[in-house]
Symmetry: C2
Subunit: 400 residues, 2 copies
């Protein structure tokens, strides 16, 4: 049973697709890596008999009486299928607890939490209560894995809370097995949120580092992967991932002989990236990644998924010799720029300022953040208010 007063800071990184977005839909190799930007979850066990879910990033603050949270069917018995292949009456019962959340992102987040709660809960005393607070340094809906990072934190929190895995899972000898468990439930949460995600995002958020991925063949960690400095630029231009994916498919159907070799080229870019990390020279690695970033962006542009905002980011960074590609679905969203070790801070600041001047949000971060982690909080001052107010450096210092 849970020890009384458990207080844990859980965190999981966001992810970025380095190479292969869109091509991955057509069975080409993609490479994704975790980010220094993370989602933080403050879990506190208490004796209120209540459950509080506080997600300030998406304006959610819901509290339920735990004695009220029951379903007519035990969800554990339905765990094997797709989370949303549950009877309509159960869906209706879940909906009833979702309160006045109206935005789709809110509904999905709450639904994912409730689903995992019912799948993972174990018997507890009547007084048992808990609160979950999350905060993310990741922009929401920008293709940087904010939902997978959230899903990973929520799954970890509920697995720890209901004693399926120990709080110190990341330091355990059975770490690999615990991470697999977390990944399985994080994927379920992603399925609630996205329908049919590839599983790439949650895998990166759980395991950290970098992974290559081909549909139907699963994930392979990148051998020799090493951290790199990045500048991420969120154009904040909204876009529909499904429409962009459909656009590429339509182009491939109209011009198969033209588009197929472009997708092949992207496949080889991902492959070359995997090989480049095995190289001994960091300068060579950076040079090759820059070349590949530049070529991959142009090929994505050829597929029709760039956007004037992304081209503007490329123009501005290009003036400083910094190579940039769109990352994720494109059509707006985020761009990633490789910051070589020999680029000085003044240059990076100038680029970031110029991008900010165009109304874009810039994030200086690194590639290859640690996977999901949990730290037992001892200092009483590290409470929920602290989580909400702490700056990124403070959070990073406490979480990893």
């Amino acid at each position: 049973m849970a020890q009384s007063g458990k207080r844990v800071l859980i965190s999981a990184p966001g992810k970025v697709i380095l190479f292969g977005e869109h091509a991955v839909v057509h069975k080409k190799l993609a490479v994704a890596a975790s980010l220094g930007l993370r989602t933080y979850l403050h879990l506190e066990e208490n004796e209120t008999g209540q459950c509080r879910l506080h997600l300030p990033d998406v304006d959610i603050d819901l509290t339920w009486l735990l004695s009220d949270l029951s379903l007519s069917i035990d969800l554990k018995t339905l765990e094997t299928g797709h989370p949303m292949d549950i009877p309509e009456e159960i869906k209706q019962q879940l909906e009833n607890w979702m309160g006045v959340t109206t935005r789709e992102a809110q509904r999905q987040a709450v639904l994912a939490f409730l689903y995992l709660f019912f799948v993972l809960k174990t018997d507890k005393p009547t007084s048992f209560g808990f609160s979950i607070n999350t905060r993310s340094t990741l922009p929401v809906g920008a293709g940087l894995g904010s939902s997978a990072s959230f899903a990973t934190c929520i799954a970890t929190a509920l697995l720890v809370l209901f004693n399926h895995i120990p709080t110190g899972f990341a330091q355990s000898e059975k770490k690999d097995s615990y991470l697999d468990t977390i990944n399985r439930y994080a994927y379920k949460a992603e399925q609630v949120i996205h329908g049919n995600p590839s599983g790439l995002d949650n895998s990166v958020c759980v395991f950290g580092g970098a992974l290559s991925f081909r549909r139907g063949e699963g994930f392979v960690p990148l051998e020799g992967f090493q951290s790199l400095q990045l500048l991420l630029t969120n154009t904040k231009v909204p876009r529909s991932t499904s429409a962009l994916v459909a656009g590429v498919t339509a182009k491939k159907e109209k011009y198969p002989n033209v588009i197929d070799p472009i997708l092949d080229s992207i496949d080889k870019i991902s492959l070359r990236c995997c090989e480049a990390f095995k190289s001994d020279s960091k300068a060579d690695l950076a040079q090759e990644l820059e070349d590949l970033v530049d070529i991959n962006h142009c090929l994505l542009h050829a597929l029709g998924v760039s956007h004037s905002s992304l081209e503007k980011v490329r123009t501005i960074t290009g003036e400083y010799g910094v190579k940039t590609k769109l990352t994720g679905a494109g059509g707006g969203g985020c761009a990633l720029s490789i910051i070589r070790d020999d680029v000085n801070v003044e240059t990076t600041n100038s680029v970031a300022q110029k991008l900010a001047g165009e109304g874009f949000d810039c994030y200086r971060t690194s590639l290859g953040g640690t996977g999901v982690n949990a730290v037992i909080l001892i200092d009483d001052s590290l409470d929920q208010a602290w989580l909400i107010n702490a700056d990124r450096e403070t959070l990073e210092a406490h979480a990893i």
Copy 2:
């Protein structure tokens, strides 16, 4: 023998590469077409015993006594090899007549003229003289075939002057044979100017219309080719074609698995273009050409031969829904934009104004101009001064 007082207006179109530049070096298919923009040559036979070569576009105005123009070896006997594989002493004699021309473009133009003069001249009375004036509406050195167009006009003028072909060659039953002759000598002039040209440029200038070309396989006229409106933008950014070609080759050597499929894709774009012209619907044709223009540019950008000026042209035209690609070597130079039939004049004017505001030169013209042509001038007022001063519309009206 030449009839006394022969006065002829000869003209030949410029050319634009529609698809396949750079890839053509690696044996991929390219498509080129003639332009509405032309080079005009005013040929006048007189009794001065002199030869005047007036090329105001490259600041050349040279006059020789024809009795002075003789070589120690008859160049006709050396006609089969490369024009510049002639003995050093002959080269030196040619050099001696070139006057104070110092710029390379000037030297090449005069050398090409002198070479063809010696290869094509026939016996004439002592009083025989002639003058050649040329003027081009094509920008020089912008990849629009200004040299091939000049070479075609000069070859035609000397062939007509020395009665190797009739002035009315273009209306003759033996037109095909005459055009082949012109093309053979135009290619020689191009060899003098460029060393080892592919022969694509002069072929387009001589035959007009559109041709597909694969190195080692020669030229095929495009079936069903039809004229299209174009906007050509000269960024006026100077570049080295050979350095750009070498850059692509280096990239292909460093990343063969990535670059080869990009070149394959470009090959298929050219092929698709050839197929598209066979289509019955002009709307479908324009749509496909726009798609292909957009994709081909992005692939050229991936090969590293775009330039910020070209991207700016694409940004500006893109704001008006007009599709643009670089044409020729890239790295600056010219961009071509497809102007669909349903684009109104105001839009095209706005685009052109905005481009001019950035310091670019814009040319509204059509694709698929008539090949080389010659018109006997009857009106005495259509003299050399007229040629120099006439506007483009007047020249076009008299030349074709």
